[in-house]
C-alpha cells in the first residue's frame, strides 16, 4: 500500500512528488503517457509570471508570487534553465491607460516587486521592435522565462532519486473509496493489463482531466474546460527580436498574444484562446494560426514570420470558478485536488507542490527524511564549456565529440545521458524535450535516424518499437521490400 498516490506527471504532479519525497512516506505517480511532461506542461508559454494578472486574494495570486520567488533557489538546486528577462504589458495609443494602471494596482496588492509604468521613450530603448502604436507599458522586472520540460523533468528526476515510484504508460480508470484510503484501478496503455494500487491519500494533478478524477469521488462536482492555445516557434535567428516577454493589454478583444524569447534562444508567439470540448485536441488550426499572425504585430513590429520552424497547441485546464482548486475535497477524506491549474500554473507549480505537501504532511503526520537529496544535476551541456574543457571531455568520453543534431549541435553523449538518467527518455520526443535534439530549424529531419539508432542501442530496444511520443506512435512500419 502506498501512503500517497499522485495522478499526473506534469509539472504540478512532479513538483508535488518532489516536495513529498522529503518525507518518510511511500509515494507513487501515475501518468497515462510514456514520459513526464506530456500534457499542458509541455505546450505553454514557458513563462515565469511576475504575478500582476491574478485577482488579489486569489490562490492564483498568492501561489504565482510565491512560486516566482522560489525560482532562483530552485533553478540553482535542480539545474533548471531560468532567467529573469522581465516582462512588459503594452498599452497602445487607442487603448485605455486606466486599464494599465489597474493592472499596476493589482500587482502591487499581490506584492509583485519592482512594478512601474514606463513611457514610450524608455520602452523603445528597451525594445526597439515595439509597435509604433505602443504608448506606454507596465514593466515587471521579476518576470522570467524557463524551460518547462526541464523544470518538470527536474522535479520528477529528483523525486525519483528520493524514492518516488513513477508508473508511466499507466492510465487510472477508477478510484474506489476504501475504509483506509482509496483503491486505484489502472490499465497499462501498452499491454492493456489492469493493475490496482491501494493508497491512503490520492492527489489529483491530472490537468485538463482533473474534473474526471475529482468527480469519481466527490459529489461537489467540478468542471474543467480545455482552453486551446496555439503557438508559433521561430528559429534562433529571430532570437534578438525582443528581449523581454511582451504581453498585450487585455481588452474586449481578449487577453491578446505574447511575444517572448525562450530560455533556449528561440522566439515564441502565442497563445490563442478557444474552448474545446475535446480534451485531446492538441491540434493547430488554420484559424488559430491566422489569429496569431493578425494579433502579434499589435505589440511587436516586423516579426520575421519566415523564420517559423514549428507551430503547436496546448490545452489549459480552465475551471469555471476562475481560480486554482487546491486542497482536500470536502466530502472525500484523503483526496486532494490540484485542479484548474491554468496560467499562471507553471509559475505556481513549485508553490502548489509545497502547499499540497504541507496539507498531506498535516493529514498523515509524516516524518522528514534524513537523507533527502535536494540537488539534481541536469544533462551536461558541452556548449557551456570552454574549448579546452570540451576537448578534455571528448578525450574522456568520445561520444561528446559526435554531433548528432546539427541544428542545435547536440552530441551523442547528451543523448546517451538523456536515455540513461533517472526516468530517462524512451521516445524521440522524450529525447527532444531533454536534449533539444530535433528541436531546431530542420525539426529532426537529419538527426532522427541517428537518434533512433542510439535509442535502440542504449535502452536497448527494437528499432520497430521506437515511437515519436509513446504507445501507438511507432516511427517505422516495417522493413523495405516487404509487402
Amino acid at each position: 500500500m502506498y501512503d500517497i498516490a499522485i495522478i499526473g506527471a506534469g509539472v504540478v504532479g512532479s513538483a508535488i512528488a518532489r516536495e513529498l519525497s522529503r518525507y518518510q512516506a511511500s509515494v507513487c505517480v501515475f501518468d497515462r503517457e510514456e514520459d513526464v511532461c506530456c500534457g499542458t506542461s509541455k505546450a505553454n508559454s514557458a513563462i515565469i509570471h511576475a504575478g500582476f494578472d491574478a485577482a488579489p486574494g486569489s490562490l492564483k495570486a498568492e501561489l504565482n508570487v510565491r512560486g516566482n520567488a522560489m525560482m532562483d533557489t530552485l533553478s540553482a538546486e535542480l539545474d533548471i534553465p531560468f532567467r529573469r528577462n522581465g516582462s512588459l504589458v503594452i498599452c497602445t495609443k487607442g487603448q485605455d491607460t486606466d486599464a494599465l494602471f489597474q493592472l499596476l494596482e493589482k500587482g502591487e496588492k499581490n506584492n509583485v516587486p519592482g512594478l512601474r509604468i514606463i513611457e514610450r521613450e524608455e520602452l523603445i530603448a528597451l525594445e526597439p521592435h515595439i509597435s509604433d502604436d505602443a504608448a506606454c507599458a507596465l514593466y515587471a522586472p521579476t518576470g522570467g522565462i524557463v524551460c518547462p520540460f526541464e523544470m518538470t523533468q527536474a522535479f520528477a528526476e529528483n523525486a525519483c532519486v528520493n524514492g518516488v515510484s513513477f508508473f508511466l504508460n499507466t492510465a487510472v480508470t477508477s478510484i474506489l473509496k476504501q475504509p483506509d484510503g482509496y483503491l486505484i484501478e489502472t490499465v497499462h496503455t501498452d499491454t492493456n493489463l489492469p493493475e490496482t494500487f491501494p493508497a491512503r491519500v490520492v492527489i489529483n494533478a491530472a490537468g485538463v482531466h482533473a474534473d474526471h478524477f475529482h468527480n469519481m469521488v466527490s459529489e461537489n462536482k467540478i468542471k474543467i474546460t480545455a482552453r486551446k492555445g496555439e503557438y508559433f516557434l521561430l528559429d534562433k535567428t529571430a532570437k534578438d527580436h525582443v528581449s523581454h516577454t511582451i504581453f498585450q493589454l487585455p481588452s474586449r478583444m481578449g487577453k491578446g498574444v505574447l511575444v517572448t524569447p525562450t530560455i533556449h534562444g528561440n522566439l515564441l508567439i502565442g497563445p490563442t484562446a478557444t474552448d474545446t470540448d475535446d480534451k485531446e485536441a492538441v491540434n493547430t488550426t488554420l484559424d488559430g494560426l491566422d489569429t496569431l499572425r493578425r494579433m502579434a504585430p499589435l505589440s511587436v513590429k516586423n516579426l520575421p514570420m519566415r523564420q517559423v520552424i514549428t507551430s503547436f497547441a496546448g490545452l489549459r485546464a480552465h475551471e469555471s470558478g476562475d481560480d486554482f482548486i487546491i486542497g482536500e475535497a470536502e466530502d472525500a477524506d484523503g483526496f486532494f485536488d490540484a485542479a484548474g491549474i491554468e496560467s499562471p500554473g507553471l509559475t505556481s507549480a513549485p508553490a502548489i507542490g509545497q502547499k499540497i505537501a504541507e496539507l498531506v504532511h498535516k493529514k498523515l503526520s509524516l516524518a522528514e527524511k534524513k537523507d533527502f537529496q535536494p540537488a539534481r544535476k541536469g544533462i551536461l551541456r558541452p556548449d557551456t564549456l570552454s574549448a579546452d574543457e570540451r576537448s578534455r571531455l571528448i578525450l574522456a568520453h568520445p561520444e561528446y565529440g559526435s554531433i548528432v543534431c546539427r541544428c542545435e549541435m547536440i552530441s551523442e553523449g547528451e543523448i546517451m545521458d538523456a536515455i540513461r538518467r533517472p526516468l530517462g527518455a524512451r521516445s524521440l520526443d522524450g529525447i527532444k524535450r531533454r536534449t533539444r535534439a530535433g528541436m531546431g530549424r530542420c525539426q529532426s529531419g537529419f538527426c532522427s535516424p541517428r537518434t533512433m539508432e542510439i535509442l535502440a542501442r542504449e535502452v536497448p530496444m527494437s528499432v520497430f518499437d521506437i515511437t515519436k511520443s509513446g504507445v501507438g506512435g511507432a516511427v517505422l512500419k516495417g522493413v523495405a521490400k516487404e509487402l
Binding site: 516557434l233 535567428t237 485531446e280 492538441v282 491540434n283 493547430t284 488550426t285 488554420l286 488559430g288 494560426l289 519566415r306 517559423v308 520552424i309 514549428t310 507551430s311 503547436f312 574549448a387 579546452d388 570540451r390 576537448s391 578534455r392 571531455l393 571528448i394 578525450l395 568520445p398 561520444e399 565529440g401 559526435s402 554531433i403 546539427r406 549541435m409 530549424r441 530542420c442 525539426q443 529532426s444 529531419g445 537529419f446 532522427s448 535516424p449 528499432v463 515511437t467 515519436k468 511520443s469 509513446g470 504507445v471 501507438g472 506512435g473 511507432a474 516511427v475 517505422l476 512500419k477 516495417g478 522493413v479 523495405a480 521490400k481 516487404e482 509487402l483
Partner: protein, 423 residues
C-alpha cells in the same frame, strides 16, 4: 592552431569537386571537413540513376557519381577528415578560422589561407509550411524517408500522401511504391511542379500517382500516428478553397516543399546572404563578401542537377587556388548582375571584369512557367543577347554564359540585367 592553405567545409558533391579542382590548379595543402562517416553527402542515399549525364556522359546512381569524385580525391592524396563537424567559422581582418570537432581530436581550430563553403542544404520542415493539425509520428521530410529506406532498409510508412513536388518528393513517390507502399497522391501548392519534368513522368505518371497542382494539406489527423490528411485546392493567394477538401486515410505524410541552403556558419562569419537564394552573395569568382571565402553547390543556391554542382564547385576550387597563388590587389571595378522580369535571382551577383575568366556561367531560376519566351541579357538597359526557350519552369535551373571579350567591348558597363521576355 593548425594551418591549411585551403579548408573545404563539406565533403558532398560540391566539396569533393572543389577539392579536386583546387588540387589540379596547384594547391597541395587541402583539408576537407565532412560531418558524416563517409564523404559523398546526400548522393549516398540517392540510389536512383540519372546522375552524371553532363559530367560523365553516362547515367550513374548517386553513390556511383559520388564514388567517382571520392576516387579522384583519394588518388590525389587530399585529406578528408570524416565524422567531423565544423561548429564555428570566423573571418576577422582576413584571418579565417574554422572551429571543428570530432571524437579523436576534440575541439580544434584550423587557420586557413582560403575557405570553400560547401555545406549543402536542408529540407523545409512542416512547421515552416504552417500546416495545421496534430503532430504525430508519420510526418517526414522526403529526404529523411529516403535515408531510412535507402540506407537503413526501413519503411517509415505504408500508405503515403506527399506534399510538395520537389525532386526528392517525386523520387520518393517512386521509391516508396517500389518498396511496397501505396502512394495515394502528390499535392503541390503552386500551379506548377517544383521538380524536373523527367521526374514527373518517370516517378508519378509511370506509376499512376496523381499530381494535384494548386493543392495543399489543410489538416493532419491522428494523435500518435498519422491516420488521415485532408488536402484542398488553394486560390491564387494560396488560401484553401472551401468545398474542395478531400480526405485521404494514410499513415504517412512526406514533405518535399523546398530546400534551404545551410548558411549558419556563413552567417557566424558575417558573410552577406542573398535573401532570395538564402546563399552567400558571390562574385563571378564565386567569392563571398569575405576575401578568400568561396561558396559552391547547394549552400550557394539550390541546384536541380548535381552535374551543375560539380561544374560550379570546380570553378570555386580553381578560383580559390588562384586567390592563394597571388595576393594581388583587388580591382574594385564591378559590373552588377540583376535579375529582372521573371528571373528570381542570379548567381553570381556581380562581376569583376578585370579579373574574370574568359567565360562566366550565370545561373538562375525563373518565377513561373514560361512557354516560348526568350532569355534576354541587357547591358545597361540595352538588349545585348537573346535566346529563345520553348519552356522554362521554376524547377529547372537556367543559365547564360557571359564572355570576357564581349564585355571588353563595353568598357563603361555597370549593369547586366537578365530578364524573361515574350518571344
Amino acid at each position: 592552431m593548425i594551418y591549411h592553405d585551403l579548408v573545404i567545409i563539406g565533403g558532398g558533391p560540391a566539396g569533393l569537386a572543389a577539392a579536386v579542382s583546387a588540387k589540379d590548379n596547384g594547391i597541395d595543402d587541402i583539408l576537407v571537413i565532412e560531418r558524416d562517416k563517409e564523404p559523398g553527402g546526400i548522393l549516398n542515399q540517392c540510389i536512383h540513376n540519372g546522375f552524371g549525364l553532363h559530367t560523365f556522359g553516362e547515367e550513374l546512381t548517386g553513390p556511383e557519381y559520388a564514388a567517382r569524385f571520392i576516387d579522384q580525391v583519394l588518388s590525389r592524396g587530399i585529406t578528408c577528415k570524416k565524422n567531423t563537424m565544423a561548429v564555428d567559422f570566423s573571418v576577422e581582418e582576413n584571418r579565417k578560422v574554422v572551429t571543428a570537432m570530432n571524437r579523436e581530436d576534440g575541439v580544434f581550430q584550423i587557420s586557413a589561407g582560403a575557405v570553400i563553403l560547401a555545406m549543402g542544404c536542408r529540407e523545409r520542415p512542416r512547421g515552416a509550411l504552417n500546416i495545421p493539425g496534430f503532430r504525430p509520428a508519420g510526418i517526414y521530410s522526403a529526404g529523411t524517408a529516403q535515408r531510412l529506406v535507402n540506407i537503413e532498409g526501413l519503411m517509415p510508412g505504408r500508405e503515403v500522401v506527399i506534399l510538395g513536388s520537389g525532386d526528392i518528393g517525386l523520387i520518393m513517390a517512386r521509391r516508396m511504391t517500389l518498396e511496397g507502399a501505396k502512394v495515394k497522391v502528390v499535392a503541390e501548392l503552386m500551379p506548377y511542379s517544383g521538380g524536373l519534368k523527367r521526374n514527373i513522368v518517370q516517378c508519378l505518371d509511370d506509376f499512376n500517382i496523381p499530381l494535384k497542382l494548386s493543392h495543399t494539406v489543410i489538416d493532419i489527423e491522428g494523435k500518435k500516428r498519422v491516420e488521415a490528411v485532408t488536402i484542398a485546392q488553394v486560390d491564387e493567394n494560396g488560401r484553401p478553397v472551401p468545398g474542395t477538401e478531400e480526405r485521404y486515410t494514410c499513415d504517412t505524410l512526406l514533405l518535399s516543399c523546398g530546400l534551404i541552403p545551410e548558411n549558419e556558419l556563413s552567417r557566424s562569419a558575417g558573410i552577406h546572404i542573398n535573401s532570395i537564394t538564402s546563399g552567400p552573395v558571390v562574385s563571378d569568382a564565386l567569392e563571398t563578401s569575405a576575401d578568400g571565402v568561396f561558396a559552391c553547390g547547394n549552400v550557394l543556391h539550390v541546384h536541380d542537377l548535381v552535374d551543375y554542382v560539380s561544374q560550379e564547385a570546380a570553378a570555386a576550387g580553381k578560383n580559390a587556388a588562384r586567390f592563394l597563388r597571388k595576393n594581388k590587389t583587388r580591382h574594385q571595378e564591378q559590373i552588377e548582375l540583376v535579375a529582372e522580369n521573371g528571373v528570381r535571382y542570379t548567381v553570381p551577383s556581380f562581376l569583376r571584369p578585370a579579373e574574370m575568366d574568359d567565360t562566366v556561367t550565370v545561373r538562375f531560376r525563373v518565377d513561373g512557367v514560361y512557354r516560348n519566351h526568350t532569355i534576354t541579357v541587357c547591358y545597361d538597359g540595352r538588349p545585348a543577347a537573346r535566346r529563345k526557350r520553348p519552356v522554362m519552369a521554376p524547377g529547372e535551373m537556367e543559365q547564360v554564359i557571359l564572355r570576357r571579350e564581349e564585355l571588353a567591348l563595353c568598357p563603361d558597363l555597370k549593369r547586366i540585367a537578365i530578364r524573361i521576355e515574350k518571344a
